[in-house]
């Protein structure tokens, strides 16, 4: 198994709080990994560290064997680390079509073109067509994002990330607020990603986690508490005690 993304002794401190405490994980090529843990376990902080939104206090992050700890966020995206956000982060004045076309252009390295119109690169429009259809956005593709219903915006949130053609996709509670019936659909699209794409998923819905993931990392209090395949984690009594055994799992 080739390791694509790796952290070594990653540590983040905010004053007296340590949301990420000596985390060393390895994400293999093509992994379908879930990142679970109780609220406040440091899952989102870890994603923020991996994508460069936050800078670690100590430790290093490696992509394809190269140290990217100090690399700017947008450069990590160009190397293939792409994320979605727990709370939608969209371009409210643009349309879904323009948002996706811009993301695809950025991926293709033509986003700095300033003389030709958006979409003049012939590779852009077909990719947008596919994404708009997959995510049921084709009927609203020319409406401004701020006028879209929440469900559509959530779909656009995921579609925007996929438009960047990730090699490592970090999904931060992708189906939060999505109606029950449409959740599986989003996961079907993620499942259909090419086999070489690694997916790291934060999710509270254990049914979805155990359906989707092949391996699981459990974070507790910022540190790796347990790691293993779905089978062993779901049967691990310690994990049950800190997390699964708490009865109704809170969202947030």
């Amino acid at each position: 198994m080739t390791v694509v993304l790796e952290t070594r002794g990653l540590l983040k401190r905010f004053g007296g709080i340590t949301p990420t405490n000596d985390v060393s994980i390895q994400v293999e090529r093509g992994a379908r990994r879930a990142l679970i843990g109780p609220n406040g376990a440091g899952k989102t902080t870890l994603i923020n560290l991996l994508t460069g939104v936050l800078e670690p206090t100590a430790g290093t992050i490696w992509l394809d064997g190269q140290d990217i700890t100090r690399l700017a966020p947008h450069k990590r995206v160009r190397r293939g680390i792409v994320r979605t956000f727990q709370i939608n982060q969209l371009f409210s004045e643009l349309t879904p079509l323009q948002s996706l076309a811009l993301s695809v252009s950025a991926r293709l390295g033509v986003s700095a073109q300033w003389w030709k119109p958006l979409g003049s690169d012939p590779r852009v429009a077909p990719i947008c067509d596919t994404l708009l259809r997959q995510f049921h956005l084709d009927d609203v593709m020319n409406q401004q994002v701020k006028h879209l219903a929440y469900g559509k915006r959530r779909l656009l949130e995921i579609a925007t990330a996929l438009a960047c053609e990730p090699r490592v996709l970090l999904l931060d509670e992708p189906v939060a607020g999505v109606p029950e019936g449409e959740r599986q659909e989003i996961f079907d699209i993620v499942n259909a990603l090419p086999a070489h794409v690694s997916v790291l998923l934060i999710e509270h819905d254990m049914d979805l986690v155990f359906n989707f993931a092949k391996s699981v990392t459990v974070l507790v209090n910022g540190a790796v508490f347990a790691e293993g395949d779905v089978e062993s984690i779901s049967n691990d009594p310690r994990v049950k005690a800190v997390y699964l055994g708490e009865g109704e799992v809170a969202h947030g």
Binding site: T51, Q89, L94, L97, A106, P117, L118, V124, A125, M141
Partner: protein
Amino acid sequence: MSAAAGLKWAARWRWWEGALLLALLASWLLLPSHALLLNEIAILALFALSLDLILGYAGIVSLGHAAFFGFGAYAAALVAKLVMPDPWVGMLVAITLAAVLGAVCSLLILRGSDLTRLMVTLGVALILYELANKLDWLTGGADGLQGVVMGPLLTPLGAFDFDLAGRTAYAYTLVVLVLCLYVARRLVHSPFGYSLQALRDNRLRAASIGLSVNARLIAVYTIAAAIAGAAGALQAQTSGFASLDVFDFHRSAGVMLVLVIGGTGYLYGGIFGAIVFTLLKEAVSAWTPQYWNFWLGLFLVVLVLVGRERLIRPWAWFKP
């Protein structure tokens, strides 16, 4: 509709864009006696277009945009006085120098909040104002730069002298305005232009799709400064004069008002705003020379409270 068609549709030419172009041309042909006023409007429109690029598209607020306007004005005037009187050469030098100044100043607006940017841009304009005041051996200080004589305007149709009625001047300004408008239009419909809107709406996400926010901000600030410099150069060249007034705060605030009137983020707000602003100022000050500021102020208050959309669509007032 397919994605390709949708993207083309967004960049299509609207009928009123053509109508506006025709109206500009017609104004030169049909209103020769008002060329001086029209010239003033066109220069203000170009200046406002420049601010719209950074304010309306990239979301950078500025209370010191006159810094680039004034820099361009002095640069063009000094070229004419000290080097050579050709207007095109002066224009190119002014644009280049204003762009360099813009690139340097852009480093100041990358960080901080809107309030920080208001203060920093205001500060830069104040510094340049005071520099122009102190360097009187070069700029003429508070007396202004006298003795700027422009050479004839060389065109493919022949050479034209700047006349007192301002017809050559207005034609020159119109050509520069339309050229800049065309460049700006290409720009805002390009991936670069959309990435400006993206970072205006959400910087975090813009970086998360792989856009370099800082590189974009530096580029657009430089381009906007260059266009403001062109407007300043037009002002100095068509009036044959540059004074401290070009750096003044009221000019930075005035161009902001023009965009408040005309609207931001669709390129033409500066033109409509400049027309309304200047004509209103002319009309009210002819009617009541002492109190025109009062009426202009009242208009702005009403405009902002009622909303531009509702003010230009009075028939919609009585709809339930």
